[in-house]
């Protein structure tokens, strides 16, 4: 109506998620939320703040501590036409529900010959760096990204959190929605209008000509930071934010590397068999002739994440690690502050 007014606000990633859940609850009465402590307690990370009060216990359901049970309940509801949005407190606890996710949610459309669809969203934060120790700090995204029948998205900004969550809730297939503990308080511009992302599209969030950094979620934030730092040294770095781990937007990755000839993957998971392995293979298969150096990966140390602050920090991939590898790939000697 009035297109003259400002159409964006700067809000946090947490707020963007909260507002999107609210908007979808309002828009479609088939949408409901279920998870541990999401009602009265408003969620361990306050993503569902105020929603029980406004939508009541039929639509914002506090579940017992039984992930397999409430994921299974949501799955059954989805089969019968509801649009449940499950919150699993962290990705680590989703392992309890993995049979429901991998063997049921991901398979039913195919095994029932398309007679049912599963419009189910499972939100789960992951990521280390909070001193939550080895069992509570994992990045298990590749476990789900490996599974045909699932869609896996991992927004890095408040705007993408809104657009991808909206798309996920309206999608007729099960979507694993990966959040990151360290992003909840990150701020960014978010449109006031309804935004629906296309699941499966990566974004070039910074253009450059010398090298492509491919990342996702928290890693994209670090990649941008490193790219801007290296820009002051005359290096032109392009950053590709995957946004969706499955389907993977191989075209955008390959188009970028075709232009730059160099690629580094920055990933929060462990290196072996990780996201970076898939990206690296994609580049090798897609644009081998345009590579001027081997694709390199920067990932977490292959250990259960330590609890001690200093060890935890050392084990997680950092901006300095990324900058060093970028320089190595470009065959530029590193500067002392990279240590």
């Amino acid at each position: 109506m009035n297109t003259e007014v400002a159409t964006t606000r700067t809000i946090t990633y947490r707020q963007a998620l909260n507002e999107t859940l609210r908007a979808e609850l309002e828009r479609d009465d088939k949408v409901f939320l279920i998870g541990e402590e999401i009602g009265v307690f408003e969620g361990s990370y306050k993503i569902t703040a105020g929603l029980l009060e406004d939508f009541g216990p039929d639509r914002v359901i506090d579940a017992p501590i039984a992930e397999e049970g409430f994921v299974g309940a949501a799955l059954g509801a989805a089969m019968l036409g509801m649009r449940p949005v499950v919150e699993i407190m962290t990705i680590n606890f989703s392992l309890i529900a993995i049979d429901q996710i991998v063997n049921h949610a991901a398979k039913m459309r195919s095994m029932f010959a398309g007679q049912v669809s599963i419009p189910l969203v499972i939100r789960m934060p992951g990521g280390g760096g909070q001193q939550l120790a080895a069992t509570h700090s994992q990045n298990l995204e590749v476990w789900y990204a490996h599974i045909p029948g699932l869609k896996v998205v991992a927004p890095s900004t408040p705007a993408d959190a809104k657009a991808l969550l909206t798309a996920a809730i309206r999608d007729d297939d099960p979507v694993i929605f990966l959040e990151n503990l360290s992003l909840y308080s990150a701020k960014g511009e978010v449109s006031n209008d309804e935004q629906v992302a296309e699941i499966g599209k990566a974004a070039v969030v910074k253009t450059g000509t010398d090298l492509t950094i491919v990342s996702y979620s928290r890693g994209t934030t670090t990649a941008l930071e490193v790219a801007r730092q290296l820009e002051t040294e005359g290096l032109s770095i392009e950053v590709v934010d995957l946004r969706s781990l499955r389907p993977l937007d191989r075209d955008t990755i390959c188009a970028s590397v075709k232009k730059t000839g160099h690629a580094v993957v920055f990933e929060d998971d462990w290196l072996s068999y990780g996201i970076g392995a898939e990206i690296s293979a994609t580049i090798g298969e897609g644009v081998f002739d345009f590579l001027d150096a081997p694709v390199r990966r920067v990932a977490a140390a292959e250990v259960p994440l330590p609890y001690a602050k200093s060890l935890e920090k050392a084990a997680l991939p950092s901006a300095a690690d990324l900058a060093r590898v970028v320089r190595e790939v470009l065959n530029i000697s590193s500067t002392p502050n990279d240590k």
């Binding site: 000839g261 462990w270 345009f290 001027d292 977490a300 140390a301 050392a314 950092s318 065959n331």
Partner: protein, 432 residues
Amino acid sequence: MPDVIMPRLSDTMEEGELSRWMKQVGDEIHKGDVLAEIETDKATMDLEAFDNGILEQLLVVAGALVPIGAPVARIGDGSNIVAEGAAPAAPAAPAAPAAAAPVAVAAAATPTVIPPADTPTPATPTAAQTGELRTSPLARKIGREHGIDLHTVAGTGPQGRITRTDVDRAILAQEAAASAVPTAPRAAAPAAAAPVAAAPAAVSADSVSVPVSRIRAVTARRLTESQAVPHFFLTNVVNVERLVAFRADVNESLAALGTKISLNDLFVRASAVALRAHPEVNASWGDGVILRHDHVNVGVAVATDDGLLVPVVTDADQKSLGAIATETRALAGLARTGSLSLAQMSGGTFTISNLGMFGIDSFTAVLNPPEAGILAIGAATDVPAVRDGVLVTIPTVKITLTVDHRVLDGAVAAAFLRDLTILLEEPLRIVL
């Protein structure tokens, strides 16, 4: 125990291909025994043992490219025999640490950044030194598109890897060299065909890249070098009516001896005689001085399956036609079987390239550095002429001289070509 190393077998050699092992692990070796065959940029040669003992270990597999000075085998008293299966496949490359991800729990404090297999080696030798051509795929693609032989490019990436930067530099150098071709006097219409110059091929989706032989790689490098030489071309049309008749006469009298001479032999002999009379042409550019050569050694370009070779007829001005014919035929045979020795390809002072047998009317040859001249000979062609009021045909051959302008000016080269033409038209003078 002494290591057997890759010897330097020619001045231009940077690496050798150990093409065949002639001894096996465990064999008793005597000083002077042939251990292996080595193919250099010029010839296939024997690698002889300098020590007595037992061949204990082969350090490279047959077919490996090995830089000069790198060990290829170990001779000892027989107490350290290493089975052949243990021979490392890659010569000269230090054993690279396994590239697998570090998984040791003890490494807790280090984020996993897989080093590429090549980073542990700090030195960055050139591809030619390591014997391995390390290139990025992008460098190969760009090289292919611009007709750059990556063997001629120095890599500045990790471990001497040739990257886009290096190929871009080589392309600039190539363009600079191309634009340096002088606008020298050209007696002939611009002739496009050089005998061996490889023009960058248009690359399309169906282009197929063919790996090059050692000979072709060297040819490419040396001819690329010669493009930096300021040169010009002079062409003459030779009436070969008497030359053809003379050859027939000679062959008739040689028939009893089982020998035959070719027109090319006559060109070799005539060129040699003309060179003796024009010592300023029998010369080469020597870094600020002109080197005039005592001997007249005429190289003859021979096409082989692997590429162009130029065996040399030494002292061609001192040899009879029959001797030149016999020697040239023998050298060409050796060239085609890849068994020319280094000496048989060295010391040329002038080169003859003949494409007459392919029906080529005329062409310009690319200089064979450091020689100052090369003669390109076309096919004999009948042309109409009026003799005593009657229209007749006479056979002619177009000969084109390519000249290093640093050594010779147009008038001097023209005088040489004129005298050579006279020799060919009055062939009895060739044997005087």
